[in-house]
Subunit: 346 residues, 2 copies
Amino acid sequence: MTKPPPASSSAAEQGSSTNRPPTLTDVAREAKVSSATVSRFLNNPGVVAEETGARIRAAIELTGYIPNALAGDLASSKSRMVAVLIPHLEHSLFNDMIERMVGEMTASGNNVMIGLTGTSRDRTDSLVRAALARRVDAIISTGPASEAVDSMVARSRTLFIQVWELPEEPVGIAIGFSHEDAGRDIARFLASRGYQRPHLVTADSPRAQARKQGFFTEWQALGHAAPSESIVDMPTRFGHARRVFADIRRMDERPDVVVCGSDHLAQGLIVEAQAAGLRVPDDLGVLGFGNNAISGEMRPTITSVDVDGARIAREVMAAIARHQEGKDFLSRKIDVGFRLIARESV
Amino acid sequence: MTKPPPASSSAAEQGSSTNRPPTLTDVAREAKVSSATVSRFLNNPGVVAEETGARIRAAIELTGYIPNALAGDLASSKSRMVAVLIPHLEHSLFNDMIERMVGEMTASGNNVMIGLTGTSRDRTDSLVRAALARRVDAIISTGPASEAVDSMVARSRTLFIQVWELPEEPVGIAIGFSHEDAGRDIARFLASRGYQRPHLVTADSPRAQARKQGFFTEWQALGHAAPSESIVDMPTRFGHARRVFADIRRMDERPDVVVCGSDHLAQGLIVEAQAAGLRVPDDLGVLGFGNNAISGEMRPTITSVDVDGARIAREVMAAIARHQEGKDFLSRKIDVGFRLIARESV
DNA sequence: GGGAGCGATGCAATCGCTTTCATCGAATAG
DNA sequence: CTATTCGATGAAAGCGATTGCATCGCTCCC
């Protein structure tokens, strides 16, 4: 009773003269096979006969067919898309890692949807929503979302991967390191170098706070007085250095080393210090974070904390692959650690 | 004959106890309206009655419904997604502009798919393909794709926007400026400052080449000898400065000003020069490009060429909006110009 | 008082694919 | 020589929304 009138057939015979973009069915008609076979050829070329495949290839060429991923994803209920949520594009500690991930994902046939969260929880939430609506395979985020959204994620088929951090109870899985430990190690390192009066530059972010916490605790445990501090906006950029350096000059007891939240800020401090006639590290030590490429290229080179972005990218890819294959996870937390790299600036 | 057993109805009645994520239909059943009404409520709340809307809202809350954008986009054949193609995330001249665009798009309800093209034409092509497959509303790219792909784009409903450049015959529309003119203006500016021996640092990219071309032509037209040159890899980064500076020191006739392809490289050269005991700009001038935030924050501040990223972002948004409303374009090329900003480094 | 007009909703076709199940001929086994 | 198996393909039922058209009360106006 739903049989359509056969009228369309003649028009369809005309082929590419119509205006609407060609569909799978058009290709199938052209290649004289069923649409199912074309679909198979596209997704799994091995299963169709050599000769049929050739015909299909020709038909695709001739019609200028572009698959409609929207329809495909809907039918198969998987999207081969991954969402990446970062606070900022510019001045980001994660850029290097993100770039690696995007590259690898693209290579493995995934598309990447990117979202800039800024520092707003709401923006993060709405981006997570959008990602879930698109049924992405995974959401990679440097921070958590709100609880409401967490439960949405939990109910969905989407894998939530939090990177650069290791929360007690991750929503999905977490790949990162302990920022508190990093702060602690920095304190020990500076103490071992004989520094007496460190100045901390911290941003108002959970991670920066965790590092500060670790530093404070350890530094005082080592018998020193609490260090001085400057607070800066997120993200921690080069340009903040002017204000921070001004803070320092104003102090009665001049610090002998500055602990920065990023290599860019460290670079800025070196520039400021030198412009003021101070020698780094003799008059003032400067310590970065993140081991950005510039830290090895600056004069003097910058002592920094390295986090293995490539390793994180690899683990993320592996996790997504496992998830796409429907497998389970051995562990919900992967600690990739960090390494303090001593260079010239401290 | 294909009538399904009515067994499912009782299970469905259970509501959220089932495992599969709730659909529009589930919400509709819960709210005791048709799925059409729920869809209307979601996309155009104004048309449904107040009281019905409240019931639907409650049902959505209760079921934890997340719209399936895949299905929606397919049915309406529009995606509200935009693809952005850039060469690199890190060290990109465009970062600032991209960040603005991503922000505005997200705000206007579009999602952004990002692709890293590197310098490979093939990568660009396959990313364009992927974007077309997802039926994105627009593709924003800093470079052109291959001809094969151009014709695919032309046949599709997708708007191709090329930014930071003004080709003779853009595939879709172009929003940018003339790099050759920029090179020419730089030459005039340096001549007016009395510089005699500029050294150009160019990357092997069409845009950099165009600037160089403009510079050479004008510089020689002003009666000078051809400038010296260093070639660097893309992207033009801070770290290249060491090699470039080494190039300069090796020369018999030392240049008196270095023209860089990016502010980061300019920053690097300043650092190198100072480390070698040279004063900038007295002993060596340094000129950047792109007017990144750092150029106003460096010591000395960097003379650079400003391109109005905000303006480009705005024009891009306007173009997409016009396109989404099905309107046509007044012009296929928009010249946003550029401004040379004189600071301390030259 | 009898349409016309309108606001709110439902019905059902449609978007372009994927995928299960059935089919069919040929090859292989017993 | 028949029964199985297997590889290649087709038929058709979804996937979960959107949207044109039809329906149904009402109010409004002459």
